[in-house]
Amino acid sequence: MSQSFSLYIPTNSGMHRLHPLTKLALVFLCLVLGLFLPGVWLSYATFALIIIPSALWGGVLPRLLSALFKTALPIALSLFLIQGLFWPGGTPILHLGPLSFKEEGLYFSIQRTGRFIMIIGSFLLLTFTTRPDELMLALNRHGIPNSITYIILSTMQIIPRFQAKANTILDAQRSRGLETEGNVLVRIRALLPLIQPLLLGSIVDIDERAIALEVRAFGRKGPRTSLLTLHDTPAQRIARWLMLLAAVAVIAWGIYLWLAPRFIA
């Protein structure tokens, strides 16, 4: 899995062994729970009661929490400061000299932070425990075209190569006396001789890769086989349907809650 733009952590847990679509359904349910129902605490509850136990089962909890902490903390902090202090016309509940935290702002920040944690957390859970190629294969088998899953998979692998190529180009230009170390202006000026070879080179690459795909019968119509195998069980199939039904029910309930006050009014 090295050299690919993938967060997959290869261990062999029960969570890892689940069918990719089962995990996708679980994540979908989490997102629906956190996003479609009003109230502040539901996304925290989803996170604590579904995502944390699943990550623990998958053996990826420490990595998940540390990645989440790094992304969520700055966002949460800025939300609390900006929305808390500058909520227009809110009710002040805590005074700090000339400034004050507003109740509505804090409420809003807690809600948004909860949603953010829940969305990122479920995304990390899925990518940490699911091989991208297995997920794409599962999607293929459920009607997503090959060409779309190919674009997703190849991008995951091409991005690190793009970075490597950028480094080679930078090396070539520095070797011709291009100064890249120094102040911001020097660095910006160094970008131009980097971008052109990167883009033009990539066009050639795309042409050749298209030929390589044709040679390997990628354009052939009809059935395909797969060396990768996906393990599925009747229990998982039932669980997926239940989770989907639950998600649909939650969406319906959320829409009802949203529309009801308007009709009553």
């Binding site: 090295s2 190629d133 190919y150 692998q157 190569r161 050639v204 390997r216 990628f218 060396l227 990768l228």
Partner: protein, 278 residues
Amino acid sequence: MIRLADVTYRYPRATVPALDGLSFEVSTGQFCAVIGANGAGKTTLCSALAGFVPQFYRGTITGSIEVAGLNVVESPLADIAGTVGLVFSNPFNQITGARFTVRDEIAFGLENMAVPVAEMEPRIEEIMRFAGLEGLADRSPFALSGGQQQRLAIASVLVMRPKVVVLDEPTSQLDPVGAKEVFSVLRSLATTAETTVFMAEQKLEWVAAFADRVLVLHQGKLVADGPPGEVLASPDLGRYGLQPTRYTQVARAAQLAGLRSADTPLPVTLEQAVEFFN
């Protein structure tokens, strides 16, 4: 197995034809090498045998090309794939990016051809041994060295068991011993599996040692065609921007110096040179 009749091809907007009146036939199981200076048309010819000239590159073509019973000028590329294999020289661009391990990368073509998994696995094992890729099955194809990627590109095409395999300078990234190994793999493929091998190459020492037949291209035209011993020892080679092997050069120098009889045929391989001098 390969039949060209009066093939002339121009790239879009080109004034000079890249292939100019080519006619030749290659029979089943033959290992045919094509040599020539840069720009002589080798890459274009290889692309044409697999249908990418003109189907991918456009341009105008006249004459007919038949490979493994297919009219490759008009047959859909998807129908040519699997029957005619094409390996080109940049190994990195031949990695599809669709798969995450070497094993799965090799499987990709078989999957698209709907080969059953039970049959796929032994074929992959076999080709990995054949191409010297043992022990790399679970690595990322992108984490391999240039030489390993080149072997992977060859293996990924050969595993599809094409009737004709066309290779355009497939050893450019390999060290000398690695290059020789690739030639020897192709040689045994032609001999034992009756696969027709058509290969553009610059490494004349290995062409001389392994190919059955050598074509020389010059400015898009076929200017020589025959067994390596004949074509590579020809005094005309220099006119086409090619340099004979050192064995031929040193033997010719010995003849000129009067050390060896001028009637003895010139050697093109090490074995022949040893015979020539003893």
